[in-house]
Symmetry: C2
């Protein structure tokens, strides 16, 4: 299970802790693309673990625009931040059809009380999520459109590689240019132009739902991509 593998990268979970993690998985649910799981402004939200498919979290602005904060791939938490805040500050929407397992707030609080090492592992996962948001912020603030898009696709590739759905060759990517534009703070037209530019520079291609890295090292260099913030080292706690 992708989540176990992910948390296991941080703490070596004991049998008892794994049992609690299993126990968390209560209701398994399916959502079709476009139907929100969590909505901005709602309170008392459950959290979810994404089992298959892609989702995104975003915020709407008064002027009708939106900013996508992050995409989630299998193994990621959805809405974990909303559990402890009084009201959710963002909306979560499936990009494809997705399968999730719901985690009840009460179960999560109980797990915190009874299995502190599991609590630490979840705390680590949240810290890693925040590190990704921070890197995203840096990209939007200080990288130009081409570097930003290249960095974004490299990060997605690295994350998918961790769960066996990507490699240095590339990965299957269900995102439209509109979704990427909303994530990168660009217009869809410009995303298209930048993709052409990256293709003509023989760095990568993106056709028919597939990202192909033509020159992975060149791309890494071009985008100044340093994956250390993804924190893929071995377990920190034994």
């Amino acid at each position: 299970m992708p989540l176990v593998r992910k948390l296991g990268a941080f703490v070596a979970l004991s049998g008892a802790e794994l049992a609690v993690l299993e126990g968390l998985r209560k209701r398994r649910r399916t959502f079709v693309a476009g139907r929100d799981l969590v909505q901005q402004g709602q309170s008392d939200q459950a959290a979810y673990i994404l089992m298959s498919g892609w989702a995104c979290s975003y915020k709407d602005l008064a002027n009708g625009q939106r900013q996508i904060v992050d995409f989630q791939v299998p193994g990621d938490f959805l809405g974990l931040r909303s559990v402890l805040l009084h009201i959710s500050d963002h909306t979560i929407e499936p990009v494809t059809q997705i399968e999730v397992t719901e985690i009840l707030k009460s179960d999560l609080l109980e797990a915190f009380a009874n299995t502190p090492r599991l609590a630490l592992a979840i705390f680590w996962a949240v810290s890693r999520d925040e590190a990704m948001v921070v890197e995203h912020l840096v990209g939007i603030g200080r990288r130009n459109a081409a570097e930003r898009l290249a960095h974004f696709l490299l990060e997605l590739g690295a994350r998918l590689t961790l769960i066996g759905q990507g490699s240095k060759e590339g990965f299957d990517c269900p995102l439209t240019q509109y979704l990427m534009a909303d994530a990168l703070g660009l217009s869809a037209v410009h995303v298209n132009r930048v993709l052409r530019h990256l293709r003509e520079a023989d760095l990568l291609t993106f056709h028919d739902g597939r990202v192909k890295f033509i020159d992975y090292d060149g791309l890494t260099d071009f985008a100044d991509f340093d994956p250390s913030y993804l924190d893929q080292g071995g377990p920190l706690l034994v």
Copy 2:
């Protein structure tokens, strides 16, 4: 103590938990402006609680630019995210002279194991920090320079009001236009021009280290500022 007040807004801490929080405060240290507390790429970092003064966390880029991720004011944690990640993904630098109390990693892990409600309160604080980073991301991605700057100053005002160092009239602000530029993804020259624009629109002034809100409601409206992400409601857990 500002931190107690802040965490107390989330859980009603018991005497025993307050004692642990007291016990955490080991070494009290002072840093002068400009001397880094935590550096990008370092491992095994301690965390700190900011007692007085302002700090900022930022990331350096290969091209020599930098992006400030957030400013910290008294009561905020410094470097909490770095504790659980293998290596720190950012640098923390004092903006003014600051006083901090150091929290040892071992103490923090122990507190997690022994006082789960305190762990939850810290988890809440991290979630709130992440919500602020997310709002910052939205601003850089989708707000123009004037809205972005107005929103930024309103957020700072709201945070400082919580700790008794600000109001709807304004607040003392030690930031230079260069620092704000690095935080907002703008050039210092443009920050200056936008400040003039906001002043000429009778929305706010910023002179001699003091931000004055001339028309607080108009400004809130202009910047589309909704402080709910700062999660200032009462205790969630009793």
